[in-house]
């Protein structure tokens, strides 16, 4: 097995006495996408900042290809895309790219060619010479993503890369990330979107309150920590009565109401579905829809923490 491109060993960090992260430990290998999944404040961004060499851990260490991230040679191997926009509004898209290319030692025609290729790759070549202040939020995010690739990184570090993007644009970025991984690069992505982690990640680390609470491939996590199935109900009205009625008959799992839908975690859907339907009929509650779906990482998180990712 190849040595990991990134090794994170027992890093901890406190801010003003408050624990931001504690004993974080993981490796990332070539051709792999690792997702850090957790709600806001879980410590994902702190981990990425330490990995990128921006901040230093109080304890533990990070090695990128065996090098400390404070070493410029280590940072030349990574492409970091922070959550916030990293572009200059008064420069054009191409000028932004050329600036960051310079930071990676690229200049002249080589830099220009690489920048144009990347702008083409993310679909912004037609806007290359427009000032970034005329770009939409999504275009700025795509440009930031292209900037992360400017140094031809072996490890791409993405912090909430699709936050604020519409679903279409989000899928496009996911496709680009998977394309990059096929070239043998490693990607570490911090996200609070369960769907993003499921679509992209080969492995997922679930974080909560600065600690790793679960780690593994998504399917394994769902099997190990999630319910066997999730029953999805849609009813027309009387939500409060329905929830009361269901609590009386479903004891083994969580019941959640979200966007007018009710989700019930169950371990034996074959047994639970008839019970739920007959109870609702008894109560005279009209059912609009009932589906049995596979659990998601969101359900895993809920099982592990008793809270939802978006809380």
């Amino acid at each position: 097995m190849d040595p990991p491109i990134l090794s994170v060993k027992n890093i901890s960090r406190r801010y003003c006495g408050r624990i931001a992260i504690e004993n974080i430990c993981f490796d990332v290998f070539r051709g792999e996408v690792l997702a850090l999944l957790g709600p806001n404040g879980a410590g994902k961004t702190t981990v990425l900042r330490i990995v990128s060499g921006i901040a230093r851990p109080d304890n533990g260490y990070v090695r990128i290809n065996g090098l400390n991230p404070s070493d410029p040679r280590a940072r030349s191997l990574i492409g970091y895309c922070p959550q916030e926009p990293i572009v200059y509004d008064d420069l054009t898209g191409l000028e932004n790219m050329l600036f960051y290319a310079g930071l990676y030692g690229l200049s002249g025609s080589e830099a220009r060619r690489r920048c144009m290729n990347l702008l083409e790759f993310i679909g912004l070549s037609d806007y290359a010479n427009r000032l970034v202040k005329t770009y939409s939020g999504g275009m700025k995010k795509r440009l930031s993503f292209a900037i992360a690739l400017i140094g031809d990184p072996r490890l791409l570090i993405l912090d909430e890369p699709t936050t604020g993007m519409d679903p279409q644009a989000r899928r496009e970025i996911w496709a680009k990330i998977l394309e990059i991984v096929k070239e043998g690069r490693a990607v570490i992505v911090a996200t609070h979107y369960m769907e993003e982690a499921e679509q992209l990640a080969d492995r997922v680390i679930i974080m909560d309150r600065g600690r790793i609470i679960a780690e593994g491939v998504p399917e394994e996590l769902k099997t190990r920590y999630g319910p066997r199935a999730v029953i999805l109900l849609k009813i027309l009205d009387r939500h409060a009565e329905v929830l009361d009625a269901l609590r009386g008959i479903v004891s083994e799992g969580e019941i959640l109401e979200e966007d007018g839908e009710i989700k019930i975690h169950v371990d034996d859907p074959d047994e639970a579905v008839p019970r739920i339907v007959s109870r609702l009929l008894q109560e005279g509650i009209k059912l609009e829809m009932l589906r049995v779906i596979r659990p998601t990482l969101e359900d895993v998180f809920l099982r592990l923490t008793g809270r939802r990712l978006s809380e």
Binding site: I54, P72, R75, L91, G102, S107, A111
Partner: protein, 432 residues
């Protein structure tokens, strides 16, 4: 240090500076306005010319004698100093209107020529009433002493005429009764007539003071004053712009959200520092060049540049040194200025205050003695004074050599302290 990274920071900052209307205003437009105002409002082209006093005259002498009030007015009108009229005469009908206009500040002084002025002048002593406008002490002093000087000269001229006339009559009548070669023993071989002439001349003007104009090495004429102020405007702009460049170096990237991305790149903090310092020095250098051209060609400032003269190159060296000094001070300022807004405001306020109190915009001898200390200890003032001394007043190297050494050492020291402050600020932002 990687040159492509330094160049990337430099080019990026140059582009952003030139595309920011606020930056262009503060760096180029504001000092231009300031210099043009100085050249054409506070130091109008008439500055340096002799003062012409506006004098109101009431002439009550209506006699037709060869010497009368009208003759005095003609003499007043014809009086000149270095080719410029000494007086602009306005005639008044009566004293009360004249006094009203003096009180209203419309006249520098007034002269009342009484009845029989000419007649009294011919036969003995004539009186005149002179009123000095006290609009302010300085103009009153100028008006009074100009008129005193004028009447002293006029008195002397009239006395000489009277002496000539008297001697003519003495010769005509007194010599009938004594020999022409009669001499007074106590006065050597002087004839009696010559003795009388000298004696009467002594009565009219006991001391014959002669005045000679000598041009000083440093001329206080309009072109040299404007040369002085061109460096004042340049220095003032360098002060706040340099402070701004230094104080914004890290905080601007932080507020834009680009700092963390930069720190995650292989570029080092030294690359960023050098790139941004170079960009700041290029902009400030361009601004200085622009200000000097503006001063010389649009305002008429006298700034002499001779590329074959070592001193002139030393004066030119002062420009990057002031830029570096102020950028260094700005980096120190970034320790307390934690947002773009506070860094900008602090830079402008401190820069302008320093310009006004350190002898950069106002000559230090205008300032109270306790304030002059600021200019004496501030290296920016030394640098500006070196450039002024050489390029405006043609000072030799020996006169400025010590100050040049002081400027070089203090700039290096402040920039090094600035680097330490900058690294500390960068670490603080990265860890936040």
């Amino acid at each position: 240090m990687k040159w492509p990274a330094v160049k990337a920071f430099m080019l990026k900052n140059l582009k952003l500076t030139l595309r920011s209307k606020a930056d262009v205003f503060w760096i180029f437009a504001w000092p231009t306005i300031w210099l043009l105002m100085t050249a054409y409002i506070f130091l109008p082209p008439a500055v340096g010319q002799p003062t012409t006093l506006t004098i109101g005259v009431v002439n009550q002498d209506s006699s037709q004698l060869p010497v009368n009030g009208s003759m005095l007015i003609q003499i007043l009108n014809a009086s000149e100093y270095h080719g410029a009229s000494l007086f602009e005469i306005k005639l008044y009908e009566n004293r009360s209107v004249l006094i009203e206009d003096i009180k209203g500040g419309r006249l520098d002084a007034g002269i009342l020529i009484p009845e029989n002025f000419g007649k009294n002048l011919i036969i003995g002593q004539a009186s005149l009433r002179i009123y000095i406008g006290m609009r302010d002490l300085q103009s009153a002093q100028i008006a009074e002493y100009t008129l005193r000087g004028f009447f002293e000269n006029l008195n002397k001229g009239i006395a000489l005429r009277k002496i000539d006339e008297s001697l003519r009559y003495i010769k005509l009548y007194a010599l009938r009764y004594m020999p022409e070669n009669f001499s007074i023993p106590a006065n050597g071989n002087l004839s009696w007539m010559e003795f009388m002439r000298r004696w009467m001349l002594g009565l009219a003007s006991p001391i014959n003071a002669s005045f000679t104009s000598i041009k000083p090495e440093a001329l206080a004429d309009r072109p040299s004053i404007l040369g002085w102020y061109t460096f004042g405007a340049l220095g003032m702009s360098m002060l706040y712009s340099g402070l701004m460049f230094g104080s914004l170096m890290a905080v601007e990237e932080r507020e834009r959200g680009t700092l963390r991305r930069i720190l995650a790149s292989p570029a080092t903090s030294t690359d960023m520092l050098l790139g941004k310092t170079l960009a700041g020095m290029i902009v400030l250098g361009a601004m200085a060049f622009f200000m000097i051209l503006l001063g010389v060609y649009l305002c008429g400032a006298r700034i002499a540049w001779n590329p074959l003269r070592l001193e002139d190159w030393i004066a030119a060296l002062m420009i990057p040194l002031i830029a570096l000094l102020m950028i260094g001070l700005g980096m120190l300022l970034s320790l307390i200025a934690r947002s773009v807004k506070s860094a900008t405001n602090l830079s402008v306020v401190i820069g302008l205050m320093l310009a006004f109190t350190a002898g950069i915009w106002f000559p230090s001898w205008w300032l109270p003695s306790w304030m002059q200390v600021i200019g004496e200890i501030f290296p920016g003032t030394w640098a500006i004074e070196i450039a002024r001394s050489i390029l405006v007043y043609n000072a030799p190297l020996s006169e400025v050599a010590l100050d040049v050494v002081k400027v070089v050492i203090s700039t290096a020291a402040i920039y090094i302290l600035g680097i330490l402050a900058y690294r500390r600020v960068l670490r603080r932002y990265a860890e936040a």
